[in-house]
């Protein structure tokens, strides 16, 4: 599994987590280059369909980053996103897709370090979990 490089699709909220990722970059913090970052206006705008599409098309993990409780630019988007992801993890968990592949984190615009750590941890965990088997299944 040494040479397995997990691919992570990261949906980052415009107001907090994307800026956090940006800060990680401008601060020259080193973290694994395994994420493909997608900026969204709010973590709650991430419909389960986006996450599922990524997983079914072979992404090894999906990271959703939103503002900290109380900080959402749209008041409550992050709380709603949290529930939505909880539901998604419950459903895919019961269908045999490891819930750990989908992660939800509160990362603020000032938390470049937390973003870098989150990605590093996730990459490590996904390495242990192994590649997403759906990647090679033609019927998915």
């Amino acid at each position: 599994m040494e040479d397995f490089e997990p691919k992570i699709v990261a949906f980052l909220c415009n107001w907090c987590s994307y800026a956090g990722a940006d800060l990680a970059g401008t601060s020259r913090i080193e973290y694994p280059p395994n994420t493909r970052n997608i900026r969204v206006m709010c973590s709650s705008s991430v419909d389960p369909i986006y996450i599922l599409k990524a997983l079914l098309d072979g992404a090894d993990g999906v990271l959703i980053g939103g503002c900290h409780p109380g900080d959402c630019h749209y008041v409550s988007g992050n709380y709603k996103a949290r529930r939505r992801i909880a539901l998604l993890r419950n459903i895919i968990g019961n269908l045999g897709i490891e819930g750990e592949r989908v992660r939800f984190k509160f990362i603020s615009a000032s938390e470049g370090n937390k973003f870098a750590e989150t990605v590093a941890d996730m990459v490590e965990d996904l390495r242990e979990l192994g590649p997403n088997e759906l990647k090679t299944n033609w019927e998915v």
Binding site: I49, L52, R83, W138
Partner: protein, 373 residues
């Protein structure tokens, strides 16, 4: 407090339908409490469909119907979603009332414009099967009525959804036709709202207790079916506990989306799967095929079903219309009931119980703990 009334017996041939028309529907229409009433009706081809009646002759109408042609909650949505009339009445089964409560939370029906006449239900047959059976047997409807009153559906080939359904009586109604446990041709009406009670009081109907076996029958049938569902799950649950298993079960899916259009709680007015988002450029498919070596066509079958589970699984009231609508007999009811109920348990949510119970995804608590790491 709920009160039950007994409709008058006007002569020996006054069956349930006659009583309903004379004592309930005619007064409702005459006093302009309702503009029209939605009821199942025998169709010219020998099947059963729904019909919206404006006059009280109710020709061909059925109150006790062995078929659920569609989940009538969808029809109530058609009737009340946009510029509703003053008020319509609809005869609804428990699963239709539950779908209605979910739709009310989604603001896709307007219960203020509806007079709910619910009816006890212990199950329905597939429409095409009923038509075949009815062609062979003249007194099929009478036999069904009797089976329902006695709480013994053993001889009817019920749909999967109905075989496992544990809710024989609605929890919200203006008037409920309390059929289970009642005597032949007896019409017992339970008022469940102020409007229902006022109406029945004015009709001067005699108050009457529900027979004791009514609730007993409901409870024992529920227990029996729960056990049956557990047994079924022991086998079926293990078949879909991973994606390759789910793929096997969905094997024949032709992605027609019938399940979605038949679903009363699939709430989007326009489904994303029917939009340009899923009209991919031809070269896209080739790219995907390149990546995996080959892909299934039509594509996105699995994405469709798992997305649907995410979108409406919490509201799934297990009416099984998805399965009835499936041209290739995929056990959709079992998939959605199984996965849906687990998600509902996770959020301690019971769809269709109460309009005041918020849908889990429309609410939140600031301080709540889900394992999302």
């Amino acid at each position: 407090m709920e009160k039950t009334y007994r409709a008058e017996d006007n002569g020996s041939d006054s069956d349930l339908k006659k009583k309903m028309i004379e004592q309930i529907v005619s007064p409702l229409l005459a006093e302009e409490m309702i503009d029209a009433i939605l009821l199942p009706r025998r169709s010219s081809g020998g099947g059963i469909t729904f019909s919206l009646f404006q006059e009280d002759d109710l020709q061909g109408a059925l109150f006790v119907s062995p078929v659920q042609p569609v989940n009538a909650a969808s029809l109530v949505s058609d009737l009340t979603f946009k510029e509703p009339g003053d008020r319509v009445a609809a005869l609804l089964r428990p699963c239709e009332v539950r779908a209605l409560i979910e739709l009310e939370k989604l603001q896709q029906v307007d219960l203020d414009h509806l007079f709910i006449i619910s009816i006890d239900c212990l199950g329905t047959c597939e429409p095409e099967l009923f038509r075949e059976m009815a062609a062979e047997e003249d007194d099929l409807l009478e036999r069904y009525d009797k089976a329902l009153r006695e709480g013994d559906m053993g001889e009817f080939p019920l749909r999967d959804a109905c075989r496992f359904c544990q809710i024989g009586r609605a929890s919200r109604y203006d008037i409920n036709i309390s059929l289970i446990g009642s005597a032949e041709d007896e019409l017992l009406l339970t008022a469940g709202s102020e409007a229902g009670r006022d109406f029945l009081e004015e009709l001067d109907l005699k108050e009457s207790a529900l027979p004791g076996e009514s609730q007993e029958l409901l409870d024992s049938i529920a227990a029996e079916r729960e056990e049956m569902w557990e047994e079924e799950l022991a086998e079926f649950g293990s078949r879909i506990e991973d994606i390759p298993g789910l793929i096997e079960v969905l094997d024949l899916c032709r992605t027609c989306h019938n399940c979605r259009s038949a679903c009363p709680v699939c709430y989007c007015r326009e489904c994303v799967f029917e939009t340009l988002t899923f009209e991919h450029e031809g070269r896209k498919y080739i790219e995907w095929a390149e990546r995996k070596g080959s892909i299934k066509m039509p594509s996105d079958t699995l994405l469709f079903h798992i997305t649907r589970l995410n979108h409406m699984g919490l509201s799934c009231i297990a009416c099984g219309q998805c399965e009835s609508a499936c041209p290739v007999d995929i056990p959709l009811l079992k998939i959605f009931k199984h996965i849906g109920e687990r998600a509902q348990d996770y959020f301690s949510y019971l769809p269709g119980r109460d309009v005041e119970e918020p849908m889990p995804l429309t609410t939140y608590e600031e301080d709540e703990d889900f394992d999302l790491s």
